[in-house]
């Protein structure tokens, strides 16, 4: 049985590593979910086989509760697994992973309940379930059908564990701030709250009341422009005299635009009409990046 939040992460790494996944590190930009990592969004496109797992710190500014809600945070961790093509035993692999972190299938009621996933900003959707463990939603399970408006072929299976939730379940803790982050028996035991409570308070205040909307709006425009500009560049690199399509730098700006939009949304300065408009603009960027990826060397390679 794992005894801490970090041990759960280590066990998942160990398990998925043994399953043949590359264990990646988090993407170094602010994102709303593990799906935004290029290891998922871009790699779900094209024909290459690809199996990866990683932790992704995720930010949802509107969910901030000043560290006072037992279940809600504006910054949290997702554990993301992407398996392409989705193997036929993917559910078994998942249930085995639960065993590894202390959820015994002969003691706990594990259920796959219909829940189709859609990301309007990524132009992506898939069919799948939310996974319930004794009535608690612990993971999201999706077979990607489209990303950036493009049909996925082969289809990837995506498993997203809500790490705080799952840890609270496994460790029997009712409030996220009380989660033991490291081993409670260690020299200096620390809780999730010891590490993140102050940050939650500060970001909640900044997200809701202090962030500079004018600056953020300007950033959104700049990021959007930069993303399009990068993709509009000629393919030929002048030093190497080879084609280099700069998908990832462009996609970075798509991610940045998406995050700035989330900040503006939390700040409460976006009307419902504008909201749809912002979403559509980010989706356009995501689509352009997806198309560019398929043209790039990586997107073309066949396994």
């Amino acid at each position: 049985m794992p005894r801490s939040f970090q041990e759960i992460i280590l066990k998942l790494h160990e398990y998925w590593s043994a399953c043949g996944c590359v264990i990646l590190q988090p993407y170094d930009l602010e994102v709303g979910a593990g799906t935004f990592h290029p290891a998922t969004t871009l790699r779900a496109l094209g024909t290459d086989h690809w199996n990866a797992a990683y932790v992704q710190p995720s930010r949802r500014p509107t969910d901030g509760r000043y560290g006072e809600n037992p279940n809600r945070l504006q910054h949290f961790y997702q554990y993301q697994v992407i398996l392409k093509p989705s193997p036929s035993n993917i559910q078994e692999l998942y249930i085995n992973s639960l065993d590894k972190i202390g959820i015994d299938r002969t003691l706990h009621d594990i259920r796959f309940v219909e829940d189709d996933w859609e990301s309007p900003t990524l132009g992506a959707w898939g069919l799948g379930w939310e996974v319930w463990c004794d009535g608690m939603e612990v993971s999201q399970f999706t077979y990607f059908q489209q990303v950036g408006g493009i049909d996925c072929n082969p289809v990837s299976g995506e498993i997203t564990y809500g790490l705080e939730r799952i840890a609270m379940f496994v460790l029997g803790i009712d409030s996220v701030m009380d989660l033991p982050f490291n081993d409670p028996a260690s020299l200096k035991p620390l809780s999730y709250g010891d590490i993140f409570r102050q940050a939650e308070r500060q970001y909640s205040r900044w997200n809701f009341d202090v962030a500079n909307p004018d600056m953020l709006s300007e950033h959104f425009h700049d990021y959007e422009k930069e993303c399009k500009r990068i993709l509009a560049e000629k393919k030929m690199d002048k030093h190497l005299c080879e084609s280099i399509i700069m998908v990832q730098p462009a996609y970075d700006y798509c991610i940045k635009a998406s995050h700035v939009f989330n900040l503006l949304d939390a700040r409460g300065v976006i009307s419902p009409t504008e909201r749809q408009n912002f979403i559509a603009r980010v989706r356009d960027l995501a689509k352009m990046c997806a198309e560019a990826f398929l043209e790039s060397e990586q997107g073309q390679r066949r396994t």
Binding site: T106, E114, C133
Partner: protein, 688 residues
């Protein structure tokens, strides 16, 4: 004779899709079987979260052979024609025979269609049915191109013949290949097994912790949950739609009951019940002593090693955290209401958008008020009470509880209104005007709720129509179809005779209003077809002028549907057909209608006079019956025409040599048809 077992074993099929899928499997498979002339004794289909199964009992070894008599060219036709015919049926000319029929003597051949083996046909049918399966949403997975609702893990297709080894039929669905084994319960019995017969398959599944039959699972869940509650001297609250759903979430239902922490017992029952049901799919249990909601029942899919202790603990913990949220928000609302009145919260509706092109929720309430005034007048309901009900019907959208649990809209408003001592009619309307929420939900009971419910839906439909946001194809983001169906169901089930034009009056441009009426009429037609009314009765009764008043149209449809089963109906149809047929051909020839009043002066037979007299009388009584909405009376009156019409056609030749006379008789026929059509368009009706 043999039995066929076909199982599609997949990852979890959404609960709501399982039974419709089983139903489709049954109808599509049986109709393919009869198409192929492959006979069978009976067919049954089953669904679980992971399987879709069809069993065909007593399947014939092969399809029935039959011969078809093909007629060739006339005797004496050119030789090329005859040899061509022989070629087309694939035999020598000498094998043809000749026979005399009504139109002369012809060459014939009896074409033999052989029977095909059941194996071959089943293979063809199964593949066809699987490829064209109408899942609401389907998907691809891995590297396969086949589409199904969720990934298929295996297909088993077996023919069992007594005294012989089971035969596996090889199927291939774009690379997915059938096998002769399946699996038990995913967690408790994941091993493969090879069923040796269809009955044995069901028994083996039961041994492996799978109850194949959906209804059996449902009954089992209900009975065990009820027993558990009764043992604790408590009462289980019946919830059929939850039962339907839960039975589709488990292959092996295990029923557990847990306690609700005391700190939550003070929460209003509705809030407890909705959060347990919507989020956790728990049933509610009420204590016989206190009448309080004190326990929950959860249906697990596992016989756990520890007897369900961990499962129950986990579920209780999730419930606790949810209820803690609910309680927090409820208390926050109570403070708001204590400081100011509930009604005062309406101020906040200004800042809640209903739709960016339509306006705020405050605007919505103002508009609904106007409409409800009109509707109250039409239905003679106290307009002041309705107005106050509308005024409070969306207030709860600004409460903390509803913002956190949107599915509690209406329920929360009701609770707060009740606490503030509003009239029963008002707080009932605040919650019930949303009804019917689903197909199985009831329409509201009380008149105030009905008025608000109608006004709310009329506002929704007219305002979205005004900005041209209409449902198209599978897209209906504002659930406008549901609004229209709700409106229709209220009008029909509460027997309210209101014209649609009176409801949507002066709010819309005429052509937009017309389009909306058409849309509602189409929903009415679909609703009634789903209710089992026959297509042609609807066709005969629904037209531009009738669907204006949905309830009146419905009464007519209902009565015509009954009348069609009587003897009198055949008389009526006979009286209709002859004049209609003649008019039809004459109108086509002359390219004009014969719509003038017949002139009695041109009559020269008693039959004409009799028919005319009768028509005048019938016209009169039909009018009177229609005014009373007594359609049966009007059908009866029309059937009365039968004898005089028959006498007229027996003794009077329409084609008189005098053109005026002929024309006048056609006027007479037209008068018959006109009177008939004033009741319904009988040309649409088949004779049963």
């Amino acid at each position: 004779m043999s039995d066929l077992l076909l199982e599609f074993y997949s990852e979890e099929i959404p609960a709501r899709m399982q039974e419709p899928a089983a139903e489709h499997l049954k109808t599509s498979f049986s109709s393919e079987l009869s198409e192929e002339r492959l006979s069978f004794e009976s067919v049954a289909t089953y669904s679980t979260p992971r399987r879709l199964v069809i069993i065909i009992w007593g399947l014939a070894q092969s399809s029935n052979s039959f011969s078809e008599e093909r007629r060739g060219p006339r005797v004496g036709a050119p030789p090329e024609a005859i040899s061509g015919f022989a070629n087309s049926v694939g035999v020598a000319e000498s094998e043809l025979y000749t026979k005399k029929v009504k139109k002369g003597e012809f060459h014939f051949y009896d074409l033999k269609h052989p029977g095909y083996s059941s194996e071959k046909l089943i293979k063809k049918i199964a593949v066809k049915v699987a490829h064209s399966f109408p899942w609401q949403k389907s998907m691809k997975w891995g590297e396969y191109s086949f589409r199904w609702v969720r990934p298929l893990k295996s297909i088993m297709c077996m023919l069992y013949h007594e005294g012989k080894d089971p035969r596996s039929i090889d199927l291939e669905l774009n690379g997915i290949i059938s096998s002769s084994y399946t699996y038990g319960h995913q967690i408790m019995s994941p091993e493969k097994f090879y069923p040796l017969g269809a009955k044995e398959y069901m028994k083996c599944l039961r041994d492996r912790r799978v109850i194949l039959d959906y209804t059996e699972r449902k009954n089992l869940i209900w009975a065990s949950a009820k027993r558990l509650a009764e043992e604790q001297e408590a009462e289980l609250i019946r919830d059929d739609s939850l039962l339907d759903e839960v039975a589709g979430l488990v292959e092996w239902p295990v029923i557990l009951m847990g306690d609700i922490d005391e700190e939550f017992l003070t929460l209003p029952r509705e809030i407890l019940q909705v959060s347990m049901r919507e989020h956790q799919k728990f049933f509610s249990v009420i204590s016989a002593d206190t009448g309080l909601l004190c326990k929950f029942v959860v249906v697990a899919n596992l016989e756990a090693r520890d007897g369900g202790k961990s499962v129950l603990e986990g579920n209780s913990r999730v419930l606790r955290s949810r209820l803690r949220d609910a309680k927090f928000f409820f208390n926050k609302d109570l403070i708001d209401i204590k400081n100011k009145k509930f009604e005062y919260l309406n101020q906040r509706l200004e800042f809640v958008t209903f739709h960016h092109r339509i306006g705020s929720q405050a605007h919505r309430v103002q508009e609904i008020r106007k409409i409800s005034g009109r509707v109250a007048k039409l239905l003679s309901v106290n307009a002041k009470v309705c107005d106050q009900a509308v005024n409070l019907c969306k207030t709860d959208l600004t409460t903390n509880v509803v913002r956190e649990f949107p599915e509690l809209q209406g329920v929360v408003g009701r609770i707060y209104c009740k606490m503030e001592g509003e009239d029963e009619a008002i707080y009932n309307a605040v919650s019930d005007h949303y009804k019917p929420l689903t197909q199985n939900d009831q329409v509201p009971e009380e008149m105030v709720s009905i008025v608000v419910g109608i006004a709310d839906r009329v506002f929704t439909l007219t305002s979205f129509w005004a900005i041209n946001e209409k449902p198209s194809g599978s897209k209906d983001p504002f659930a406008l179809r549901r609004s229209a169906i709700g409106l229709i169901r209220i009008l029909l089930e509460k027997r309210l005779s209101i014209k649609l034009t009176d409801l949507i009056e002066n709010d819309l441009k005429p052509e937009i209003a017309q389009d909306l009426c058409q849309f509602i009429a189409e929903r009415l037609r679909i609703h009634l077809i789903e209710k089992g009314y026959s297509h042609d009765t609807l066709q005969a009764c629904l037209n531009l002028s009738t669907f204006e008043n949905p309830y009146a149209a419905f009464v007519q449809i209902e009565q015509l549907e009954k009348f069609r089963k009587t003897e009198l109906f055949h008389k009526l149809i006979d009286a209709y057909r002859r004049p209609n047929n003649i008019l039809h051909s004459e109108e086509n020839k002359a390219k004009r209608k014969f719509e003038s009043e017949p002139s009695t002066e041109l009559f020269n037979s008693s039959e004409e006079n009799n028919l005319m007299d009768k028509l005048v009388a019938v016209e009169h009584s039909v009018k009177a019956s229609l005014a009373e909405r007594d359609y049966v009376g009007s059908f009866g009156a029309l059937a009365d025409l039968n004898e005089v019409v028959e006498a007229f056609f027996e003794n009077v030749t329409i084609n008189s040599l005098t053109p005026e006379e002929k024309e006048n008789r056609l006027y007479l026929c037209n008068k018959v048809r006109k009177i008939m059509h004033s009741v319904a368009n009988f040309s649409e009706l088949r004779v049963l």
